[in-house]
């Protein structure tokens, strides 16, 4: 291995230990960490939350707050030790030589300053340029990040532009003084999948243009593949595996890395052909790390007397590929076993939605509307929704934020009533019955699991009380002994110890809370459960566990599961049928396999093309959507998707509502393009020839 001189490295992190000092004493967030980045390189850092990824990024910036600090080792940036810099020197580096892009662009931007003034100050403070020049260069940079109408954006406030545009502003701000190192901390996590894809494209494109070194932090292995050359896998504050993308993804050696791959659903397989293998347990807290290998307690290859003794060294397995594992030569990974057990629909429709629409009326109070005499507007949250759900099946509703999927769930559960159309649930039209007028049995028959388990469990009630209440209320059991027994059974079903019934939500982890939410939803033996983004707030291994759980519980009770999600990989894995929504309307519906193969609806095609795939051998066709989703307030008259459609064919798309084309086997596509044209496209996913 050729020894590069220090000049070639932009960043050298040598045996750095980072600790936080709290009342409990010193908490070693990162015990020892090393990393070297060559100029122009793009490096990905992955791992679950709590592994110390962000801490490392903040340490590079020398920004660890009042109670954090580097306790050993050195971080050298362009040959200079960051820790010895004066405040003055540090300021000169921050935002100029090293800059950062953050997870949530909305909160990273100052809400009460215009975007222009926030961008310009970077140049003013680092280069002392005049306001006019700063403005000119800011506008130029905004055009470089593909911002539409940059002059206008300069005068806007952050809340007046969309999330994707906000992130473009943050990126423009970071790139303005042409930094040599750009830190990206989960830059697309808060964004929709199609927006994410365009931001990722932009990052790749800027990197080529400015030859910037990137440190890309993410939990999403699919994005790392798209952006990075090398990748490091972090676990509990230390690097456990490091190498090129191909080495880590294709010649994986560390059990934790295997674990990560095994718990993410991929587009190539569904619940009938593979199982997700969640990593048991949780990341151990910094002050509770076991001796020896910190992954030991969760590792299926753990061997007493080998793994828990002494420091585990980082060993080189091939050129540039390092793994921290004692048993590296003994373990071989078996991909998860295949079990094929397709459960068909029973033909008995539990839910039949016919032409359901939900409009919200908005009273316009502006002067202009007063003159026009048109003061009522409608937000068309759902329009002409029709589909059928059979007993025991999983139906996924996918679409980006604002597509109306959550409104649909609200109408089903009676939190809102439909404006028009029918919702036949167990042969009863419930479209116009609000929840407070529904009888106990109807409410029992339809239950929900929500996205954020923290917000949905009452913090002052015990788990047992929470589940028991459902059992009592719906009259499943009435005596207190019976209720207790049933609560125990439910905890068993969601694989939690019975002793949990006395615990309060604050004593549970996020995954455990979501299990409780599942137990609560299924406790009344409902015939349908609506799960609204039930796993999107969870870490990958916890996500896998909850997906498995939902799947098992649903099978056990033969419940219909309506799964609302924006994550197509999860949807592909879990669901039998998929409904794709855009701006309040169903664009495409059909069985899972059919949706993922041509013919595609142009919108589905774009969605699929944007899904990040954690496999360097799969190449995706690149389709990117232009512009923003139009407002649901007075949406386009013809096809809702016309304004952004890459396959737009003319006036007809704007003027006429497209027909539902039947592609066979219950697969419908709402598009003006004839079926044979829709079919005559390449599949989105193609396997690259491994040799090439």
């Amino acid at each position: 291995m050729a020894h590069a001189s220090s000049d070639d490295y932009v960043l050298e992190i040598e045996n750095v230990g980072i600790s936080y000092f709290t009342r409990l004493g010193e908490i070693p967030a990162v015990p020892e960490f090393s990393l070297k980045l060559k100029r122009g390189e793009s490096y990905g850092l992955v791992g679950e939350s709590g592994c110390g990824k962000t801490t490392v990024a903040m340490a590079i910036m020398n920004y660890l707050g009042l109670n954090g600090g580097i306790v050993k080792g050195r971080i050298r940036f362009e040959g200079r030790d960051m820790a010895t810099m004066s405040d003055e020197e540090l300021r000169a580096v921050r935002g100029s030589r090293i800059s950062m892009v953050y997870q949530e662009p909305m909160s990273a931007l100052n809400p009460s300053l215009t975007i222009g003034s926030q961008i310009k100050e970077v140049l003013a403070v680092h280069e002392g340029v005049s306001d006019a020049e700063a403005a000119e260069r800011s506008i130029e940079m905004l055009s470089d990040v593909n911002m539409p109408d940059p002059e206008r954006v300069m005068t806007r406030y952050p809340h007046q532009i969309s999330g994707g545009q906000q992130q473009r502003v943050v990126i423009a701000m970071a790139m303005l003084s042409n930094p040599s190192l750009l830190l990206l901390d989960e830059p697309t996590t808060a964004l929709d999948v199609t927006v994410e894809a365009t931001v990722i494209d932009l990052i790749v494109q800027l990197r080529e243009k400015f030859n910037t070194t990137l440190l890309y932090i993410s939990h999403n292995l699919g994005l790392i593949v798209k952006v990075c050359d090398r990748v490091g896998v972090m676990y509990s504050g230390s690097m456990v595996e490091e190498g090129t993308i191909r080495q880590v993804f294709k010649e994986t050696r560390h059990p934790y890395t295997f674990g990560l791959f095994d718990c993410i659903p991929t587009l190539g397989a569904d619940k009938h052909s593979r199982t997700l293998q969640p990593i048991p347990g949780q990341v151990s807290l910094p002050h509770e790390r076991p001796s020896g290998c910190s992954f030991g307690p969760r590792c299926s290859y753990f061997s007493q007397g080998v793994c828990d003794v002494g420091e585990t060294p980082l060993e080189t397995v091939s050129d540039g590929h390092h793994v921290r594992c004692r048993r590296i030569d003994e373990i071989r990974h078996d991909p998860s076993t295949v079990e094929s057990e397709v459960v068909g629909g029973h033909g008995d429709a539990v839910l039949d939605v016919v032409n359901m629409s939900k409009f919200y009326e908005i009273n316009d109070v502006s002067l202009a509307s007063l003159f026009k005499g048109q003061s009522r507007h409608y937000v068309k949250a759902n329009e002409r929704i029709s589909f059928r759900a059979q007993r025991g099946r999983t139906i996924a509703i996918v679409g980006e934020s604002g597509c109306g999927k959550s409104t649909f769930a609200k109408v089903l559960t009676g939190l809102e009533t439909a404006t028009d159309g029918e919702i036949m649930f167990e042969n009863r039209n419930i479209a116009a019955i609000p929840v407070h007028k529904r009888n106990q049995d109807l409410i029992r028959a339809m239950q929900m699991v929500f996205q954020n388990p923290d917000g949905t469990l009452n913090p002052s009630h015990s788990v047992g009380h929470c589940i028991g209440r459902v059992i009592k209320k719906f009259g499943i059991r009435t005596d207190s002994k019976g209720i207790r027994e049933h609560v125990g059974e439910m905890l068993d079903v969601v694989r939690l110890p019975k002793a949990f019934s006395t615990r309060k939500p604050r004593q549970l982890s996020g995954g455990q809370k979501q299990r409780i939410a599942v137990a609560r939803a299924f406790a009344g033996n409902p015939s349908m459960v609506i799960a609204d983004e039930p796993v999107s707030a969870l870490d990958v291994s916890v996500q896998a566990a909850v997906i498995n759980l939902l799947n098992d519980v649903q099978k056990r009770y033969n419940t219909t599961l309506l799964f609302i999600s924006h994550d197509l990989s999860v949807v592909r894995f879990l669901s039998d049928e998929i409904v794709v929504m855009y701006l309040g309307e169903i664009m495409e519906a059909g069985s899972s396999e059919r949706i993922f193969m041509p013919p595609y609806h142009p919108y589905t095609e774009a969605l699929l093309s944007a899904v990040p795939i954690p496999d360097p051998d799969i190449i995706q066709k690149r389709i990117r959507l232009e512009g923003e989703m139009p407002s649901a307030l007075d949406p386009p008259g013809g096809c809702r998707f016309a304004s952004r459609c890459p396959r737009y064919i003319g006036r007809i798309c704007n003027d006429e509502v497209p027909p539902d084309r039947d592609a066979g086997g219950g697969h419908t596509i709402k598009c003006h393009l004839p079926l044979d044209e829709l079919s005559a496209v390449e599949p989105i996913f193609n396997t690259r020839d491994s040799a090439g």
Partner: protein, 337 residues
């Protein structure tokens, strides 16, 4: 925007109308009537009856309310100025004009002659106190909120709580003992009439200090709390990691956001300082609005109470309106709703 202000102005009028109804009705339940008050304790029952009838005081509440409003807006003449009554009341502005609040029994003057002078006095006191409280609270609130838990923060927090907890009459007495009795540096009363041997400025010192001590801690703690919150926001991190000097991070990025929440609280100090400083004004015999309101209430001076209440409510709702518009200005997220 114009529509928004227009709507708010209309709401202001409604609020004031409701207030006058409530005040007018409440005064109905106070003992004694205007006729006996007007004539004083030595008048005979017959004299009172005559006046009572001349003023039509046995009309229903609604009729008298409408009459009062009509007098106020200058539609009809004020009956008390009728020379036939031989009360000898005289208003230099005439007996029919817009804003005619009537005759103050307590001060034996038209309400307009006494009220505005007193309001002016209080405004001077409140203005000086406000001009000291706001910058002081901002500076200390921002300094302590900037670094939560620092020595400066803790000492300011304790001082603030202590000062706010001391009632005005206690701190006033305390200061009087030190500066008047022991040191003899300042006057014990601030009557604002004789400026010998104590100058105007020396008379203002103690009342202002009492108000500042009482109010400063409260406002400063509001600013501090908001500042602490803002300093933990990700956009402050963005600003620091942009390489901005700390001064600029505070002044440009933190300050404006930190002012959004306490802005309303700061503005609410204006009505408090104008109408709520009865204790301070009474202790120092300061001829202000609050003291006048107290005396009018004790005497049962209906016309003055009604007028003063109306003015107080007007000040409160105007401050609210200014607050809402100002809030929209400093918080761009709610602009032009």
């Amino acid at each position: 925007m114009a529509l928004f202000i227009g709507k708010r102005l209309l709401m202001m009028l409604v609020t004031m109308f409701v207030t006058t109804v409530i005040v007018f009705s409440l005064l109905e339940f106070t003992p004694g009537n205007v006729a006996s008050k007007t004539l004083g304790p030595y008048a005979t029952q017959a004299q009172k009856e005559i006046l009572y009838n001349k003023l039509n005081l046995d009309d229903s509440l609604v009729v008298r309310y409408v009459r009062w409003i009509s007098v106020l807006s200058g539609i009809i003449k004020d009956p008390v100025y009728d020379p036939d009554l031989k009360l000898g009341y005289k208003d230099s502005r005439g007996d029919q004009y817009f804003g005619n609040f009537g005759w103050s029994l307590k001060y034996r003057l038209p309400v307009n002659d006494i009220m505005w002078r007193r309001l002016g006095n209080t405004m001077i006191l409140a203005g000086i106190a406000f001009a000291i409280i706001v910058p002081l609270s901002l500076v200390f609130g921002v300094l302590s909120g900037m670094r939560e838990g620092s020595a400066l923060d803790r000492s300011l927090s304790y001082t603030g709580i202590t000062l706010t907890s001391i009632p005005e009459f206690a701190s006033a007495t305390f200061l009087l003992v030190i500066f008047v009795l022991m040191l003899g540096w300042l006057p014990g009363t601030s009557n604002m009439q004789n400026f010998e041997p104590w100058s105007w400025a020396s008379q203002m010192v103690l009342p202002v200090i009492v108000l500042v001590l009482y109010d400063f801690g409260y406002v400063a703690r509001m600013v501090r709390g908001s500042m602490v919150e803002v300093m933990t926001r990700p956009y402050i991190r963005t600003a620091i990691l942009k390489g901005l000097p700390y001064r600029q991070v505070i002044l440009k990025h933190a300050l404006r956001n930190a002012l959004i929440a306490p802005f309303t609280v700061i503005l609410l100090q204006i009505p408090f300082l104008i109408t709520g400083v009865v204790v301070t004004e009474t202790v120092f015999s300061y001829p202000g609005f609050g003291k006048m309101l107290l005396e009018a209430a004790l005497f049962g001076d209906t016309a003055l109470i009604e007028a003063a209440t109306l003015i107080a409510v007007f000040i409160a709702v105007t401050t609210q309106l200014v607050g809402d518009v100002g809030y929209m200005y400093i918080n761009p997220r709610i602009r032009f709703i």
